[in-house]
């Protein structure tokens, strides 16, 4: 589904990603772990198309298309979703109105009929239950005055509504208490399908107790220094990121 080859990315002249290669197949859940500043969020933003990030080398293909050539909204309509680490507030724009515009942009793109306000409400009610969201929230402005937890749940709710092919969760667990974490994880787990893939970016192993990944990657200083199965996350929790980084350096020195 997604092939990233030798990706180099600069932000304001600083090299953040330094040759990242990763393949994610349909049906898989990958977890990207790493210390602060390792480039995790940069990867998420670049995949979503944020233009402040400059790709200097490498390529990214999504379902065979060159993802880097697409505008952010085109990527979204192609099925790429990013659950933001810091969801943005849009004062005066109702959540229901916003989401309906998003859903209809997608439906129009697929050549489907657009939903009116009544049909849309039916459609989202079911999704709201998925993340235990209060219906009142639909009437409020997008993310405005939401608590940290509400914002994060809101992102998962939007994901459930938009039904993407590939979803990136950028530190969705940060700032969540254990109950909220479970709700978020349940939401994600209920969406796991053979034709959908996830990239779960997290700093802590904690989330991976609830969203069990197929693969875990360790990102240090812009490169993936170690990849493995879900047990890698446990090992990281015990030994820390320095261990993952050093084991690579040792291996390099030995050869």
């Amino acid at each position: 589904m997604l092939q990233i080859r030798n990706l180099h990315v600069n932000v304001q002249g600083h090299k953040i990603l330094k040759g990242l290669t990763l393949t994610i197949n349909a049906g898989e859940v990958h977890s990207m772990m790493g210390p602060n500043g390792s480039g995790k969020s940069t990867l998420a933003q670049v995949l979503a198309g944020r233009d402040t990030y400059e790709v200097t080398e490498g390529e990214v293909f999504f379902e065979g298309r060159n993802l880097l050539e697409l505008e952010p909204d085109e990527r979204a309509r192609a099925g790429v979703f990013l659950a933001f680490q810091y969801p943005v507030e849009i004062p005066g724009v109702g959540t229901a109105y916003f989401l309906r515009a998003a859903v209809n942009a997608l439906r129009k793109h697929r050549g489907e009929e657009e939903l009116d306000a009544v049909d849309f409400l039916e459609f989202v009610k079911e999704k709201m239950r998925l993340v235990d969201m209060d219906e009142q929230l639909l009437k409020r402005s997008v993310n405005e005055g939401f608590s940290g937890g509400e914002k994060k749940r809101g992102e998962i709710f939007q994901m459930a509504v938009l039904e993407p092919k590939f979803a990136i969760l950028d530190e969705t667990d940060s700032g969540l208490d254990i109950d909220a974490l479970k709700i978020v994880a349940d939401g994600v787990n209920s969406m796991r399908r053979t034709d959908r893939a996830f990239l779960v970016i997290t700093h802590y192993q904690r989330l991976l107790n609830y969203i069990v990944p197929d693969f875990v990657h360790v990102l240090v200083d812009g490169r993936i220094v170690k990849s493995g199965g879900k047990e890698l996350a446990m090992e990281l929790e015990e030994r820390g990121y320095a261990w993952a980084d050093q084991s690579i350096r040792h291996a390099a020195a030995a050869s």
């Binding site: 909204d73 943005v88 849009i90 916003f98 793109h109």
Partner: protein, 492 residues
Amino acid sequence: MVSSTEQTSTSSETDATLDRWQSEEYKYGFYTDIETDSLPPGLSEDVVRLISAKKDEPDWLLQWRLKAYRHWLTMTEPTWQNVHYEPIDYQKIIYYSAPKQAKDRPQSLDDVDPKLLETYEKLGIPLQERAILAGVAVDAVFDSVSVATTFKEKLGELGIIFCPFSEAVHDHPELVQQYLGSVVPHNDNFFAALNSAVFSDGSFVYIPKGVKCPMDLSTYFRINAISTGQFERTLIVAEEGSTVSYLEGCTAPMRDEHQLHAAVVELIALDDATIKYSTIQNWYPGDKDGKGGIYNFVTKRAKCLGRNSHISWTQVETGAAITWKYPGCILIGDNSVGEFYSVALTNNHQQADTGTKMIHIGKNTRSNVVSKGISAGFGQNTYRGLIKITKSAHGARNYTQCDSMLIGDKCGAHTFPYIEVKNSTAQMEHEATTSKIGEDQLFYCNQRGISTEDAVSMIVNGFCKEVFRELPMEFAVEAQKLLEVSLEGSVG
């Protein structure tokens, strides 16, 4: 928005493309070829007399005009406002232009020139009563005269007077004489004095005691003739316990030279009366390089004369090359309330200096000001507001919220709030914000599959929501659409 490939297309297509493009940008820019009765350009005492004579006015009104004209001669054009334009040559303006009609004043729509009806049809203002949306009565002012007023009889049954100003002068002289200039005196300011001297038509509204006007009243102003200034005058009087909602809209053809619109609006509310005055101003704003467009120099003021009276101004200003207006309320009656809700958008080279004046005189008077300024392109947007609490205004309260939004990095937003408080029991609140339309917000919308153009109009509409919800339903929809059109191409 036109793509770059269209702009550089071969010459055979270019004209057609440009035509289409321009008409999309400002779709009211057409000109109606109609025979007119116009005065030659220029202003003198004779011109003032001629206008008055053409309207067959009583002597007291002519004398009032002359008084205004003589005073105007002693005044100089104001320069304190934060806008820039080439000096206006007042001798090059035509002060009176009217479409020739079979009779002096049409008695019914059947007498109105079909070309005029067609014009209003094209503007989306069907004058045929049966076709009028949700029962809105319309007075249509074309250049210097009112060409049609709908629903007059129906309103007449309730004692409501809704007619062209010049008709009111003849049919209700005592009311006109009592209230004309009582809120905006003939010597109030340079443009108001000019208007008082040469005003040609406008609307007159009188709501009798205890009557709630059953439909929205509206005036539609259209500048058509070339080199013509439009100087209309609107006067609304709401008697004790009455209620009225009034809306004005305006458009003009696209022309390379500037045209002057200097109107005066006076509102008077007596005890327990409510007036809601909404404006959607869509004068031709000039082209992308700032060529042409209307100078919109307008004086609007309301007097809350009675106890518990309530006057509310709502304006959506998207058109005009330059806008200069400060709809205000003089709160004389105890417990009276004045409100001002404004959205002003400046794109390309448009300039706006607008805001309000709230003068608190009565006890426990309240005023509420919500201003939303949006600047895009090279637009310059200034909020200028005065809140004055006089000595007598015990327990007065004001709340002002003044938000500016910038789109792009070549535009400007400026805020000049003036506050004068002479009574220590007053409570004042002022909030102001300036934000740049967020890259973050746009990216967030994009990431949900919403195009940048749609995202901009969504964010701007959200920003203006507090003002739009004050507008009557149909007009709120129109205002939203207008913002979308006005913002086209503002984000690259």
